[in-house]
Symmetry: C2
């Protein structure tokens, strides 16, 4: 029996991750192709061709394509707005380009963190929740919000920019031009900036100085240093966790979600980050019963956004 | 022709404001009675008796009572939780008490700021919005959120505690025990604490010192001092407005509402407060189109919560 299939694709600055699933979300094929950040048409043709050749005859069963993109997405108009990592994709009518590449299949568009949240909500760490919050700690910090059982996009598609909640107007500089945003503390770049700041101080910890001088210094290496017992590395993660907890506490006071999911590469540090986060949240949250909101790690790993895009595409087929 | 009537009552620490309306929200009667913060049963009997005698034969047309209460409210269970200004009402089954006082009429319960938001949304400054945010600046700071066209209560009734968003962990002390909450800057008590702090400094502005020594010193008097040209008073309001704008900006980044309503007694200072607030918001908000979110004053004045309670009661009649 032939069955409806959907494609979920996660378009990042260097690669497009894709997955093709049926209604049970069992991946038929999955993989990754090179993404040309300056040329959406070429990349989409390449994606369609790759999937078509891998699916063979089952290509005819594909009904929709879901795209997750790093940037501001207008899901209704099918357009990509500000997308610093995808300069050639900015402002394009992605739904129309996708229709051209994918033989007229309808396309569904979402922000990448929103798509990851959809994936976690339906298939991962957020199953069963009605109100859900996600923070994705990567190079930057992205957010996603589910309220009353649906994704919060906002009237002007500007909702869930949770990485830029300002926690201290005199805090460290953020890439957005402000100071003291959550992203300036709890992103990969925020953690590394803090490590370098401490390493530059006279009398700095020598292991930290040695670590920061490596060209491959990254949050994973910093976490390894912390696990090996370096007190400075432990403290850098602990401070990031406290500021993460402050942001989560502020958001719980606003939204009172059933659960909070922490994802992204930086979250792989686990308790190095989450112990102080979990300690800070109940100090900030006012509602007695909301103080114990579960704060959990994401479940689906780097496939979350592609799977979530497939979920959204399948919802569209089912709903329409 | 007899018509359905509903009662809306706003239970505060010293008075209960009430309004009786028909489906067009035209008040039939309205007024205020003394509230005994230690005795809900007596107060409710008094309220029912007062309204009954004022309505006369039309009492028989009343179908529901809506209550707005200053405190944590579980609208589903009909219970009042933490309510510092209503110690005798805390933890009571208010729906049952109201049923006893109001001859078995069904009762609807809401937090007072949520009720005020419902009033503004349906009848005042928030008409026509799908996503809406309200901050009520009084003795403390309360919040209300409408998302996707419905009021956000939260899974544990802990949502919209927006007054306790922490904006600076080393900021001024807040009544909740934390430091740097929005309430510590933009409430009546926050403004007056800042005025006294400045008045206590050696070489302080003499007009500010004289103002702070008055026993009736309040935000209204501080606003009058500012309007009269006192630079310290102007700056105290301007700083509160900036911190309010920081909080609003953080919330717009999270929720991207169609409009933001600022209410409560402190908001009567108008541009003394709102000019810096409106200047700060676009500096914090990331989404280009969300930077210009309208920030407006509340429309309904001190009747907002009673009217909103009537709206919620009428919705319940219509829905059930």
């Amino acid at each position: 029996m032939s069955e409806s299939l959907v494609i979920g694709a996660d378009v990042g600055g260097t690669a497009v991750k894709y997955v093709v699933t049926d209604a049970s979300y069992t991946p038929r094929v999955e993989g990754e192709i090179f993404c040309d950040p300056t040329d959406p048409g070429h990349t989409l043709d390449d994606l369609a061709g790759t999937i078509r050749s891998r699916l063979g005859a089952a290509w005819g069963d594909v009904e929709t394509v879901g795209f997750a993109c790093a940037g501001i997405v207008d899901p209704v108009a099918g357009r990509l707005g500000r997308a610093p990592n995808l300069p050639g994709w900015e402002g394009t009518d992605l739904a129309a380009l996708a229709g051209a590449a994918f033989a007229g299949l309808p396309a569904v568009l979402a922000n990448d963190v929103n798509a990851a949240l959809m994936g976690e909500w339906r298939l991962g760490a957020g199953r069963g929740c009605r109100d859900l919050l996600m923070l994705a700690l990567g190079t930057g910090v992205g957010g996603g919000i589910v309220v009353h059982g649906s994704l919060l996009v906002g009237g002007r598609c500007g909702a869930a920019e949770l990485g830029h909640m300002i926690l201290d107007r005199e805090g460290p500089a953020c890439g957005c031009g402000n100071r003291g945003c959550l992203e300036a503390y709890a992103s990969a770049s925020g953690l590394m900036a803090e490590a370098r700041r401490r390493a530059a101080v006279p009398g700095a910890d020598l292991d930290l100085v040695a670590f920061c001088s490596r060209t491959d210094a990254d949050p994973r290496g910093l976490a390894a240093l912390a696990v090996a017992g370096n007190a400075e590395a432990v403290d850098i993660y602990a401070r990031a966790g406290t500021m993460l907890g402050l942001a989560v506490g502020n958001l719980v006071n606003a939204l009172d979600p059933d659960r909070v999911i922490i994802g992204g590469g930086v979250a792989q540090a686990g308790d190095l980050l989450l112990a102080t986060c979990r300690a800070e949240v109940p100090r900030v949250v006012l509602g007695e019963r909301s103080k114990s909101v579960p704060i959990v790690l994401a479940d689906l790993g780097p496939r979350a956004a592609a799977l979530g895009a497939a979920v959204m595409a399948l919802d569209e087929v089912a709903g329409g």
